[in-house]
Subunit: 169 residues, 2 copies
């Protein structure tokens, strides 16, 4: 129990405010709310028949979007948009260039503490394969589908690696 | 678009890992997933008829509870327990002494960036009133009920300030 009655409003209580490390704050925030994913969907116009779309996003209740604005400014990319399915706002980038140039270096420099960091590593592997154009051939596509299947184990997936394998051209 | 093909696995890509500020990381994590709340429930054994229970908690999917273990060790209080309603694990402390001595000083020193910081301030106000024993009298209880009603605007509340006012002894 609490011994003496204290005054929480005296400067001595918590000590002086320390300066926040924005880099660490953003990594901590993404460890909770962030999502690193790769969607693979049918796309007839592409030779192999499937399109690979890497994505980094984070959602927040609409009534406190300040952190999303911080994230948007910090990475200097992506866009904020309301999610019509619920009362949230989402910051999201689907640009391979922005993910490789702006987002991934941060999470390799200030890595997530939870196993969500595995998603960052898998995303980096897939982005590297995309930079090498491997997603445009069926062999690379299937490797990417297998890597993507290991991401976000608690999330849902529209197409399995087996479905993609069965129809990749 | 991405100009040159780069190798994301070279040390030059992201530069050397920087040291994470655990304090900032935890504040960022709580800005997303943390919950600062005060429950007020009927308790016949207490003279005023209602009990005030401050609470700080954070939840995480059970498959990556590392950050919760970090949180538990960092604050040196609270307990981890599985939430039977879903696949999450929750770290939670309901001890006024631990909240005042161990948790609140951190969030006053490394404040949340979003408006969730208002919940921290309201929790600190209510804890201060509890240290002053004001929750044991009807006037203080009603003031606490009105402050608590301003917290977690997107959350649910079992008893309204009006209900508590109508039956406080």
């Amino acid at each position: 129990m609490v011994g003496n009655v204290r005054n929480l409003w005296t400067p001595q209580y918590a000590g002086p405010r320390d300066s926040i490390s924005i880099e660490s704050y953003i990594s901590g925030y993404f460890d909770g709310e962030g999502c690193f994913s790769v969607a693979i969907g049918p796309r007839p116009g592409i030779r192999v028949g499937w399109e690979v779309r890497p994505c980094v996003s984070v959602s927040q209740n609409a009534d406190r979007s300040q952190v999303l604005e911080l994230v948007s400014g910090f990475f200097g990319c992506g866009a904020l948009r309301p999610d019509p399915s619920d009362q949230t706002i989402k910051w999201e980038t689907r640009s391979l260039g922005d993910i490789v140039d702006r987002v991934l270096p941060h999470f390799l420099k200030y890595p997530l503490i939870s196993e969500k960091h595995d998603d960052v590593d898998l995303l980096a592997m897939i982005c590297q394969m995309m930079l090498n154009k491997q997603h445009l051939g069926s062999q690379g596509l299937l490797q990417i589908a297998e890597l993507a299947a290991q991401m976000n184990p608690s999330g849902s997936r529209r197409y399995s690696a087996e479905q993609i394998k069965a129809s990749a051209r």
